[in-house]
Amino acid sequence: MNKPANTFCGQINRREAIRHLGGGFTSLALTGMLAQDGFFNKAGAATSYGNPLAPKNPMLPQRAKSVIFLFMYGGPSHVDTFEYKPKLYPLDGKTIDVETFGRGGRKNKGRVVGPKWEFQQYGQCGKHVSTLFPHLAKRVDDIAFIHSMTADSPIHGSAMLMMNCGSIISGKPSLGSWVNYGLGSVNENLPGYVVMLENSGGPISGAKNWTSGYMPASYAGTVFRSKGDPILNLRNAQNMPREQQRTLLDYLGSMNQGHLGLREDQSDLASRIASYELAYRMQTTAPETIDLDSEPEHVRKLYGIGEGRTDDFGRKCMLARRLVERGVRFIQIYSGGAHNDANWDAHGNLEKNHNFHAGNTDKPIAGLISDLKQRGMLDETLIVWGGEFGRQPTAEYAKGTGRDHNSYGFTMWMAGGGIKGGTSYGETDEIGSAALPDSKLHVRNMHATVLDRMGLDQNNLSYFYGGLDQKLVGVEGAKPIHRIMV
């Protein structure tokens, strides 16, 4: 059926909106309840959970089933990592005319800080990678680099929102919410959207980075921890053992059945009874998921687990793989937290900062790619790497190597499901200050690519709110980056 020209509110979004409007609508979804005898039946019989994350068919051919977004929070410098700028080295220390816009405002001149690491060519594709990433460098034939990324803001607060939610204004759902809204999740026992943070703290704006905005909270990210209790409230605050909890749930279920007996047409009641059983199963599934001790030593080593500085990020990467195996749709791992040098925000000493963060993550990320590949999972897992922006070629202060923010041009990379490995697309000018006009891309193009590879039509995946069919890529739409797609 062709979409009529003036339908602003067709598609699943409209139905979704109606379903969440007034109470009367919820009982449309009758769950096939059988009238119960009333009181003392044991729970669990004939009740079903109206899962808002029930799997949905993709809109387009699906190239990837899960996304792992490795968020290099703070903004890694592209000219020091993956975009080789040989002409920048000899300019070191020279003041040149260059337009920049960052935390320090707009400037027309600046002292060049030459790249602080050497580059070498790797792989069959001959990609230049800096010495910051010795392990990742060996995986370049699996990776597609995007060197002409731009964003609307060079300021953390709004730039984080842009990268995660597609807008510099707060309140829009994040990429992971859109993916879950569009596809649902195949594993009821785990959240469909998982976020892992650094121990030093969350990113600026905290939960706004994984919010579901105007969509229901079921599409929001769940913070997952790689040690201890993975999810909030997974362990009973009075330390109730599992068997006790089973008894409690049985009695609770029976009493709820009694209440339901006279109200069997109210699907929310049955749904809530079933949600307790689901929660109970989650209490087993989630800890089992984070139990990395069961993994063989050689695989753990691949991720750098047990090796001091890479241990933490390595665990998170391995956990991401295990979550993908269990059907979790969207996983985001933060490298860097809190403020200043606790993340990639190298305003002061570039070398110290990037050596630290790259050193913590290089091996784990390379290990993740290798492990997914050897298991045949890389083809259906989409990996995204990048920060909220890049960094300027010039110094921020009179002294030192610190670079200010740069949203005029920066690098991100993708790998895995539906992505053409060993490719590079776009470039910045010869000093790395801004994306060249003919190859310039926007964060929306990256979002479009993720949605497309997941089987979602970025220009038609919409949610009706505030009188508008809202879309992640905005009302005007955006094209995916075909040049890096299989």
Binding site: M1, P4, A5, N6, F8, C9, G10, R14, R15, I18, H20, G22, G23, G24, S27, L28, P52, R103, S153, P154, G157, S158, L161, I169, G171, P191, G201, G202, I204, S205, A207, K208, P216, A217, V223, D229, L232, N233, L234, A237, Q238, M240, Q244, T247, Y251, M255, R263, Q266, D268, L269, S275, Y276, A279, Y280, Q283, A338, Y465, G466, G467, L468
Partner: protein, 873 residues
Amino acid sequence: MKAFLLTLPLWFTFAIFLPAEEITKVNATTKAFWSYKPLRRPRVPEVENPQWSANPVDAFIYKRLEANGLKPNESASRRELIRRASFGVTGLPPTLEEVEAFENDKSPDAWEKVIDRLLASPHYGEKWARHWLDIVRYAESNGFERDSEKPHIWRYRDYVIDAFNMDLPYDQFLLQQLAGDEIEKPTSQSMIATGYHRLMQWDDEPADRLLHLFDNLDDDLRITAEGMLGITMGCGRCHDHKGDPISQEDYYSLMAFFRGVKQPGKGGANIEKVGGGEGDASYQAALLKHDEEGERTKVELKAAEALIGKQLIKAFPSLKGRLSSSDGEFLVLLGDGREPSPSQWFYTTTKPGNNWSAVNFRAENQKWKRGRAGFGKAGTPGVKINTQWDSKELWAQGTFLLESIPKKLRLSLIHDEDVDLYLNGQHVLKRSGVIASYKEFDADRKFLSALQTGRNVVTVHVRQTSGGQSFDFGVKAHQGEKFTIDVALAMSKAKGVDAGLLEKRKKLKEQIAQHLTRRPKPTSVNAQVVQEHGKTPPPLHIHMRGNPHVKDEAVMTTRIPIIFGGEELKATPPAHGRNTSGRRLALAQWVTRPDNPRTSRVIMNRLWQHHFGRGICASPNDFGYLGERPTHPVLLDWLATELVNKKWSLKAMHKAIMLSQAYQMSSRGQAEGLAKDPGNEWFWRFNMRRLTAEELRDALLAVTGRLNRKMGGPSIFIKLPAEVLATSSTKGGKWGNSPEEEQTRRSVYIKVKRSLVPPVLQNFDFADTDAACPVRFRSILPGQALAMMNSAFTNEEAVNFAKRLRTEAPDDPRRQIGLAIELALARSATARELDYGMEFIEVMMREHKLSPEEAFNRFTLLVLNLNEFFFVD
């Protein structure tokens, strides 16, 4: 695709085949649309069922049920009714006594009495304020990188609560929020109400300042249009609306009403003292009058003491020249804040002219304010504050008289940050930084040499950077060899002094002391209010494709959308002189016109929505073509006109609705209804509903007996799990820690911080903080089950609940179980439930080796997890 089409509502399939120009242009079709057409009082239909004809609400409902071949449900039980009404009106469960009283009240107006009691409860305002706060996306921080505070904004929350409780007419409620500063006589309440324009997200460091200015104006405009008028205007920022007869020009014409409004800002921006503060003219006048009265008494006292002195000297000639008129070791020349009567200073916080420190500078002629010594911001340690000072800079002038130049002077000083002090125009003292207690020291040569006989002028400039702030200064002269009157009287046993004179002195001294206690206090408070750039806002043009950097030529006038008549509303700045355009008042007066086709319809739909679980129009913020069609448009028009007839009294309308048979229906299923109308479109039954996040937490605390019913004031910080605090980029998330007893206050008082919403609210579909939330989601999620079963909050409350029950029914487990059910579910327990509870406890003890106490703690947790607790029939 075919199956999908079938699920579309009928009207929708119809609407999409209407040509776009039909619904996006102002024409006969759109003018006749249910929500654009003028509001008229409809005729109440006649129905034959006597039970359903008395109340007009019922007549409308019954007529549609009849037309659809449906029969309404019977009435709910009294227990169900009072639980429904208690949660619906106050957000709290009824007590068992209230349930029983209602069940036993056989009088015909028993139900009406319940409604009246609930509407009179102050908890009504706490419950219904939150519905309004959802619409205006109330939050107390700005969002973005720093997510900084919106100081004092909680007063707006209290304003909304008070407005509902005092049944402030709804038109006034809107008028005050839109333009409480521009009305003829602004009050502190109407000023606080304008905090409405300060609630939106605000980026202190936007990538594009001009764009962000219009993001903020757009936010203000959209919330007003959606919240008060049920129009989604957002589309108009970039192009003509694609689903409603609203053009881009309509959008910018409406934005012109808001164009003068200043953006939110850092710290002190948009903060004013409202309601007769220190700067307030009437307070200053009262202060002057009071001080003059005090002066007169002091003059009388001095005269009396002079007479006493004369009589003493007559009896003891050696006293001549050695009597002092003042008490104590020191003669206070300039009293600091600690003195019984601190000196009066003149002060200003705006930069004065160059000669401000000169002797001949008369601060009293320069409209400087008067304030008594001890300046500072509340909470600054060490200082005795008598005059609030919280601006960056302070200039102050104090004076004292000298008959002769003393050889020594004792000075006292406290300051929080930098002070420059001048005596008679000479710079005599410089201090920087902070001292946390008064320092007493002798005046140095520099100071003494600047003294003069007669009027001595002390001037001071104090600068503040951050944190606490204070300034206080005192000057005292040593009394030397002098005797005070008191000492002389004691030594002489008052020989030779007239007893009447002594009595007079005593009385005058008492009078002075009493007078001091009657000193008028500033009634003002700091509030975030709306401020404009001036009397004439900058010109506003249409932004091409919403881009503020690309403007159309024409300047927008303040005009309402064409579909509503297109009238240009002329604005004049208010006569009271506030530096504002008056445009918002012009808009507010149109919004609150009794014949405005949207205002009364929109609010009555919201009232209906929160009682019945679904609005008559199910998209309460969108009454346009893209919104839902109302199921009972005529009833809505009747309610809307009735509201205007009832002088916009919301309480009257609550009562009208709640007295209806429709409200009192049972929520049970019936075969016919379920078959013909499973979605309950025609209201054949009452909609069962889940408790909201706030109701759930408040009910839990009420049931366990721990709810602190204290109202109002700054927001509270409840305990948050460490895992949640760790999601913030700052240590501890800049989340406070309220005292234990504050933590059990109602949920409406919990701090609303954009980047850190407590899970106890978030898990249960709390409103988004960035955009209007006209309808809360009602999700049922396993995460909620985890929170209810496992969180520290519910487990602690379960233990508290168990403690309460053991106290109220000691040594009687069966009675404890019964009481748990009575308290949580507002009904008596059945015998089977009692047996069941006993069995549960026994199993917990036998199979899991728990103590009776532990087992009972498990039972109370179970009760708090019951569906019957979580849902309202």
